[in-house]
Symmetry: C2
Subunit: 394 residues, 2 copies
Amino acid sequence: MSDQSFHPPLRTLMGPGPSDVPPRVLEALGRPTIGHLDPAFVDLMDEIKGLLQYAYQTESALTMPISAPGSAGMEACFVNLVEPGDKVIVCQNGVFGGRMKENVERCGGEAVMVMDDWGKPVDPGKVDDALKAHPDASILAFVHAETSTGARSDAKTLAELARKHDCLSIVDAVTSLAGSELRVDDWGIDAIYSGTQKCLSCVPGISPVSFGERAQQRIANRSQRVQSWFLDMNLIMAYWGGSAKRAYHHTAPVNAMYALHESLLMLKEEGLENAWARHQHNHLALRAGLEAMGLNFIVDEASRLPQLNAVTIPAGADDAAVRTRLLQEHHLEIGAGLGDLAGKVWRIGLMGYASRVENITLCLGALDAVLSDMGADIKPGVALPAAEKVLAGA
Amino acid sequence: MSDQSFHPPLRTLMGPGPSDVPPRVLEALGRPTIGHLDPAFVDLMDEIKGLLQYAYQTESALTMPISAPGSAGMEACFVNLVEPGDKVIVCQNGVFGGRMKENVERCGGEAVMVMDDWGKPVDPGKVDDALKAHPDASILAFVHAETSTGARSDAKTLAELARKHDCLSIVDAVTSLAGSELRVDDWGIDAIYSGTQKCLSCVPGISPVSFGERAQQRIANRSQRVQSWFLDMNLIMAYWGGSAKRAYHHTAPVNAMYALHESLLMLKEEGLENAWARHQHNHLALRAGLEAMGLNFIVDEASRLPQLNAVTIPAGADDAAVRTRLLQEHHLEIGAGLGDLAGKVWRIGLMGYASRVENITLCLGALDAVLSDMGADIKPGVALPAAEKVLAGA
């Protein structure tokens, strides 16, 4: 057990999250703590709610950060909306659909799985079939942006299918929020959760959620209490709600809220559409470099997430050794494959503040250097010029 | 919705938590984010576990921070240890025993309540009676330090009673950890949780927990899955556990862990017994001042928590108006009464870094000034000299 303060190594974070946190957000994070019932903090909570409504493109008043990571945000959606015996159609095309199934079952619900291959988007045709085959289903749950593969599913179409069949939709937007087009109200999404550590470029640990009117009604009309006290939206609403008097529920992570506010402010300053466009533009540059080098994307272009680039590991490259060298020599973190893709792919994030030109240059340069040195089967020396062409708008 | 960065007002935090966070901890909090699977972060996790073992005085390997506030730490204890149909003896002498009851019931358990008046410690005689009357009970749950009243219960005796009756003990140490004597292994406590924002003087948002061997066995031998995926210790262990390979569970709140590490390091530098003694010494000084002024403690001396001083509001003082003036004029936060004590008491915290001489002086000086100005029924001008006598060791 050391008796020294911890000084983290400086990293460039291009894995699946956490992503690089900008100095502005870190500075906000470290400001002096105030009480969670201080009038100044209550004002801050209102501002955060408004900024989250902007980020999600929703007018729902039940839009707020859960005081815990994205997986608690996921659980908040399921424990509030699923009651024992409920049937839920769960789409799985990667790791996180599997976690949704776990959540449904732990709530006493029945999960009907719609399976798609890892790397493919959720197939709306299969979902329609499942909804027709199970007219008693009450919820459709799917992942908008699969962090394990980099595939984007068509959230608009899937949410429409849910409505057509009188189901609520629960949407995982952990990796999509602020990185890809997402319009909660226009698309008719009923419940959605995300994380702070991806395209919002905030520190990890908080999960913004939003519940639309139909979801709120479902919660209000539950026949049983929510099984989690900590995640019971009826109680959380009394603290985060719009009334003048805030009821104490739990002690909010005050400093993390400073950071979230600052990161949301940066998003608003840039403009949501501009942020989406930046992610796409930088993705095209990175893609040009990776493909020139000979690395292949595992997701088809039409459903590829700009903020998460999953590419196959070339022959002659030792997965772990490459990532270790990138980390130790270049202080660059990229992500390993998860589950079935472990050892087969790398996941390169261009999320939020990490989606910037110098990161593309560092990543392509470092990969080129390490893979060439290792004698891997790549085309050396061509990645950076290829990316530069895209960046220059050629 | 503002478009300005949030700059918190500077406060002195002498409520029931969060308490003042020292600059060292805020500085650690704001250091650059690294990945939650970075080897440097994994080393940090090991150090935090070791430091938490020291703080709790336990050798249990299942000692770690839950990535959410204290109420999630409470829930982690209950969802992992209570199965549907289990009978749990729950002691209530304030707000938080009531929350324990909620937790038991939401896990499908049956809560047998042992009630004591607010402000009194839990009565071991009543607990013994309840354990005898319910030989089928499997758990005894109680609050060591009631944050709503400032009463300390005899955790050692209560944990012994639990063992005698073959029950596990679940102990709420949110306000006691690092402020009052607490020896998890010596006292035979089976499961315990706390918060970072009280006597650890860290930012709010994290809940250190520890499960002893008997509790671990109970978790391993469950007949049903834990109802919460996020709080399932079987899964959390695989991430925080001692094995070389850490299994991804959720993205840890990396920066909050920097801060927790720093605050635990400060505790170790001071020494746990020294920290307990400092809390007691400063409490005696504050007490001398408050009593000289004419304010009365609601808890008997024998069970009074040094870190949370609940005193009656004097005649002629408007509760809310006093707290508002303290906050606006003196930038001092003290706590209101909760539940049945709302409007009747103030809760003055001397927790962790907030337990220092200048805070005592500020608090007594500001109270004296505001209450005198308001014409409240106090003895003016005597509080500070009375406190000074104790501080000077007279």
